[in-house]
Amino acid sequence: MNLQQQYIALNVILVKEIRRFIRIWVQTILPAVITMSLYFVIFGNLIGSQLNDIHGFKYIDYIVPGIILMAIINNSYANVVSSFFSAKFQRHVEELLVSPMPNYLIIIGYVSGGVARGLIVGLAVTVVATFFIQIPFANIPVTLLAVVLTSVLFSLGGFINAVYAKSFDDISIIPTFVLTPLTYLGGIFYSVDMLPGFWQSVSLVNPILYMINAARYGMLGVSDINIDIALGMIILFVILLFLLALYLLNKGVGIRS
């Protein structure tokens, strides 16, 4: 396939993916907006008003970047894992497998769909957040880089989960037992400086810590982690997961007998 043909093929996957989550927006977009609004009201306004400032920011201001990023992480992941597993389950993934599309293009197509949903939900949550606080957006390029890379990373994670999944139970195990704990322990609601020394070191092996701090640096201008290291870690994880996804697809793991 030449470049133009690859662009057409990629566009078909992306449009199908966007149509899919827009058609069921009540299940895909609305829940995140409602849940995150509750976080703003309960943790931000009600409980947050009783807490001290963190790094010079009111508590609600401090947690907003993490909450926006959590919505992006969950939705990017959920979009790809459910869509690709459904394609496997209904066997219409075979439409792609018999076509001359290169495997990397299939991955990019599904990941683009995940990023599209992640960013739409992220934007919606950001709009809701502006009802509660004024986000300063200290560094817009870093903000965009952090949210897009995080979305790409978790879309890749969703893709790999879907490749291995054999049942619908398998696509909820990772989000429930891995993703949610890592997100909550990644410093959305606190600064790692507040943890005892040992737990600060443990937190450093949590990749989500780097993403939340990169987003916080972009939006508020403060971070527990050096921003170059934070962005470098995200890019490293993106490359590693992309290579893993490509390897699995080339080998046919979970999709070819």
Binding site: M1, Q5, I8, Q90, E95, V98, S99, R256, S257
Partner: protein, 305 residues
């Protein structure tokens, strides 16, 4: 040039099940080819390997000279597949399934829409273009998969039991359509359990059993291997006595029906001339069973023993 050339193809699934033990096939360009075999013989595994849905264990597969090990993209672009099981998104409209498939081959939207209209009209699905796939009947779903397989105008069309569960009227209209496609130059490989279908449509045939090619030849020469054919004659009047004709074995099934075995060196004309002399009027005649079916069963049984 061969549309498809397979050498010593083997496949062992995880768990040690050996589905293919050395399949060899050569299918000339423009052919209408029947790939037959009992359930579990390895037909679908072979097709799966050709279309990259199954990983092979060893052997070579070339599609119009493109080796699937080295030229996979080019090989894939030559193939259109109609699989045995429905494998489209049940929640997608018919036209989107067909036009979307064109996109996966890099065909622009305008051309894809024009072709989708052409094939959906030819397969009598145009009225259903906006319906969700899950709303279609079984026969319509099969035709949808044919339209989808043709959307990139492949040189080789592979149909894995395309008429399974389809009523006779639709089956015949599908035969007519496939014959036209083949006459326009598309090579067709067909697997089916309706041997009448293979006999009517295909010029060449291969029989696979236990993961091996048992026979690969012209349909005509295969049918010549049938030494005895059995015909059923329906008579106008009641028969009082079974006529005795030299060299033929004749059995009376009821007072209006005769069953006659005709050896390869004999002709049915000899039977008719004797019946006419005796004033017996034949109203209709048919084969007792499909000729290919008899050969197929013989070959498969021989292999199994």
């Amino acid at each position: 040039m061969y549309a498809l050339s397979i050498r010593d193809l083997t496949k062992t699934y995880k768990g040690g099940i050996q589905a293919l033990r050395g399949v060899d096939l050569d299918i000339p360009e423009g052919d209408f080819f029947a790939l037959l075999g009992p359930n579990g013989a390895g037909k679908s595994t072979t097709i799966g390997i050709i279309c990259s849905l199954v990983n092979k264990s060893s052997g070579t597969v070339k599609v119009f000279e493109h080796d699937i090990d080295t030229d996979l993209e080019l090989a894939k672009s030559c193939i259109g597949l109609v699989p045995q099981e429905f494998n489209f998104n049940q929640f997608e409209p018919v036209e989107e399934i067909v036009a979307g498939q064109a996109g996966y081959y890099g065909i622009d939207r305008k051309t894809a829409s024009q072709r989708a209209e052409k094939y959906l009209k030819q397969l009598s699905l145009w009225d259903k273009r906006r319906s969700m796939a899950r709303e279609l009947s079984g026969g319509m779903k099969r035709r949808l998969m044919i339209a989808r397989a043709l959307i990139h105008e492949p040189r080789l069309l592979i149909l894995d039991e395309p008429t399974a569960g389809v009523d006779i009227e639709i089956r015949r209209s599908m035969w007519k359509f496939l014959k036209e496609i083949n006459q326009q130059g598309t090579t067709i490989i067909l697997t089916t359990h309706y041997l009448e279908e293979a006999e009517n449509l295909c010029r060449n045939i291969a029989i696979i059993n236990n993961g091996k090619t048992v026979e690969s030849t012209e349909m005509k020469s295969l049918l010549k291997q049938l030494h005895v054919e059995t015909f059923i004659l329906q008579l106008r009047g009641p028969l009082s006595k079974v006529p005795n004709i030299d060299g033929f074995e004749i059995r009376q099934l009821d007072e209006h029906t005769l069953e006659i075995d005709v050896k390869q060196e004999k002709t049915i004309n000899e039977v008719f001339s004797v019946l006419m002399q005796e004033g017996i009027v034949v109203e209709s005649m048919r084969n007792k069973s499909n000729r290919l079916e008899e050969l197929f069963i013989n070959m498969v049984e021989k292999q199994t023993l």
